[in-house]
């Protein structure tokens, strides 16, 4: 059988990663045997596809080992939460500006609905900024999408404040 190529390395590595150690030897042997049989019968290309299919068919609860993601999960959660909390604090800071200004001047006069709408707008922007940084990895695209999010925020804000487009929600 030495003239046959070995089974697809990535799928073998994946199988070794998820399979319970007590079943590893017999199952890998069965997979290899079927792979060589399929090469003989169908050729390399189809044998590779069938090998992948059979590895995936072994993804069953009683054959999968207990995979621990906790260390990785905690790391990701802390990083993401840190960033999201930073954005939320910035949003809260911005929201407190009119509240503080109202104590010193009559020029600023916000009611509860104003704070509510601005709060929703700021927190949505914070959420979308966080989402952009989470999902997009390239610096250039991150910058483009962040600018788009901020532009949308400023346009909605301006529309609500002074009515740029004359929508039903436009301010005066």
């Amino acid at each position: 059988m030495t003239h046959f190529p070995p089974p697809p390395k990535k799928m073998v590595a994946f199988f070794r990663w998820f399979c319970k150690s007590q079943f590893l030897e017999e199952l890998e042997g069965d997979l290899t045997e079927r792979y060589y049989f399929n090469i003989d019968k169908y050729g390399n290309k189809k044998a590779n596809l069938l090998f992948t299919k059979e590895v995936l068919s072994l993804l069953r609860p009683n054959l999968i080992r207990n995979i621990q993601f906790n260390h990785l999960k905690n790391k990701i959660m802390i990083t993401n939460h840190k960033r999201l909390f930073t954005f939320i604090f910035i949003a809260l800071g911005l929201l407190s500006v009119p509240l503080v200004a109202m104590q010193f001047t009559n020029e600023v006069n916000w009611n509860v609905a104003d704070f509510l709408v601005m709060g929703i707008l700021l927190f949505s922007t914070a959420f979308f900024c966080d989402l952009v940084l989470k999902k997009i990895k390239t610096k250039k695209y991150r910058l483009i999408f962040l600018l788009i999010v901020l532009l949308i925020f400023f346009l909605i804000w301006a529309e609500l404040a002074v009515g740029l487009f004359g929508s039903p929600f436009a301010g005066s």
């Binding site: 059988m1 030495t2 070995p6 089974p7 079943f23 030897e25 017999e26 199952l27 890998e28 042997g29 069965d30 997979l31 290899t32 045997e33 079927r34 060589y36 049989f37 299919k53 059979e54 995936l56 068919s57 072994l58 993804l59 069953r60 009683n62 054959l63």
Partner: protein, 110 residues
């Protein structure tokens, strides 16, 4: 009355293990089923059932020899246990009983 009832595929696997008489392992059991029943079986489905039958102590297993066409990995050879034999006998008797209970007229075609 047994406390464990076999599913249809479990029964087929158990019978095939009995047919192969101690020489059955994952691939040989699949080949036997495919040849005899003209039915496709995946390795995943087969292994799940074999492990379940082993947990229920209906089959036992030992490591066999390693061969070159298995990449040097050993086979796990399955054999039916006495509990397994009792269960397939019970299953056969139950089916025979049901077949015998069918009135002749019900099996006649128009």
């Amino acid at each position: 009355m047994s406390t464990y009832h076999l599913g249809e595929f479990e029964e087929i696997v158990l019978l095939t293990v009995a047919i192969l008489n101690g020489q059955g392992y994952g691939n040989s059991i699949i080949n036997e089923i495919e040849q005899r029943l003209k039915r496709n079986v995946s390795l995943g489905a087969m292994q799940t059932v074999l492990k379940r039958l082993e947990e229920k102590q209906l089959v036992s297993s030992v490591f066999g020899e390693s061969t070159e066409n298995r990449g040097g990995k050993r086979k796990r050879l399955y054999n039916i246990t006495s509990e397994g034999k009792i269960l397939i006998n019970q299953s056969k008797e139950q089916r025979n009983e049901l077949w015998n209970a069918i009135p002749n007229i019900a099996l006649k075609f128009c």
